[in-house]
Amino acid sequence: MEGYKPVILQGQQTNDDEILEKSPPIDASALGGDSSVIIMELLQRFKVRDVMKRKVLSVPRKASLREAQRIMRESRISGLPISEEGRLYGIVSVNDIILALDGGWIEESCEDHMATNLVVLEAGMPLSFALRYFNNYSYGRFPVLDSNRQLVGVISQRDVMRALLYELSVEIRKLERKTAAITGEGEPAHNVNYFRREYAVVRNDLSSAGHAANEIKKLLKEHKVDRVVARRIAVAAYELEINICIHSHGGILTLVIQDDAVTITAKDRGPGIADIEWACRDGTSTANDWIRSLGFGAGMGLSNSKRVSDEFEIKSEVGKYTRVTCVFRLNKQAEGAAQ
């Protein structure tokens, strides 16, 4: 039996906004009508290509349904595009495979049994289009074509959701900062060397965890903070970032660099810690097996952050929030270097 290897296609970033001009205007009612302004704006601002997966598996038309089945099973996907040199010919779905197994035509070629009446999205369309398509059709994903009708990606509801959640957390962060400025928690005017940066941390998004800590480490380097101190700060930032990610409903990591100190603050939106003393003890944790299998959740996060900090404070209210503040004193030498 011939072993077709799936063709892996890497979509190109092309500018095909001209599609927009040919597109009908957005219909707000398709989104439920009462979507908040921020979400509406995000759905407009984002294009399908910003969110879609660019890595697409596909097989040529002559591949057998059995080959398609194997690739779908191995890659755990429920629909396989049939394409040749970027041109999309059809899609074979799990349903087609089941029918073929049942009807005895699993050895026949995809060409003869694939769905050819396809609903596709275009890369330059706003995300609101994608959402409307998901509403109107029962498909879990859509192939994405560029303006030259070349297959450049696949978009699923999950991709849309993830992008929206991430962007929403960024928007919320901006709002919180605005509120903080109004209530006077903002930047003190007398301190000349004051630098503040905030990072949204999303719940359970372990693949992005460490991003903020890494950025912070780079910023500390830019601000010429002593290497050894910078490393301690980065350790605390990473531990706190991971904590927000695996234990909370999400939150914000804040970096403040001043003349004489660097402060890392991690504030989340709950669920809060009932017994802080217990939580800070080395080796105590409420993490689940999944987190532990990745090498976290050993109950060292808070104690690690505490150990590297010069000042450490933790406040929490069950059902509301947890806020951890780590302060790092900058010695004279580092101060001198920063000026």
Binding site: L206, S207, K217, G295, N304
Partner: protein
Amino acid sequence: MTLDEVKDAVAGNVAVDVPEAQASCAYASDLLSDVMGHSGEGAVLITIQNHLNTIAVCTLVGTEIIVVCHNREIPPDMAEAAKREGVAIVTTPLSQFAASVALSSLPPVAR
């Protein structure tokens, strides 16, 4: 120790090549929080944690070479991140203990 020397010592393969990567000491652990807390600048990390977060931790503690034991496969996102951050990865059929023995000429992390 250079990347090539580490690779030869553990009879491994270079999965992500960073030719200038160096190691001056070694640390073995599968617990990333433990690595964060106790590993040091310039240590080669001996571990079985073959995922993205390992790279994040190594970048933060200043590790330039990771030895992944039991020939665990390196997922593409991990390899990409390693390349981007300049962290070399060596895979070896050895266990953590055997790899540690093989690299015993390196001192433990100085505390």
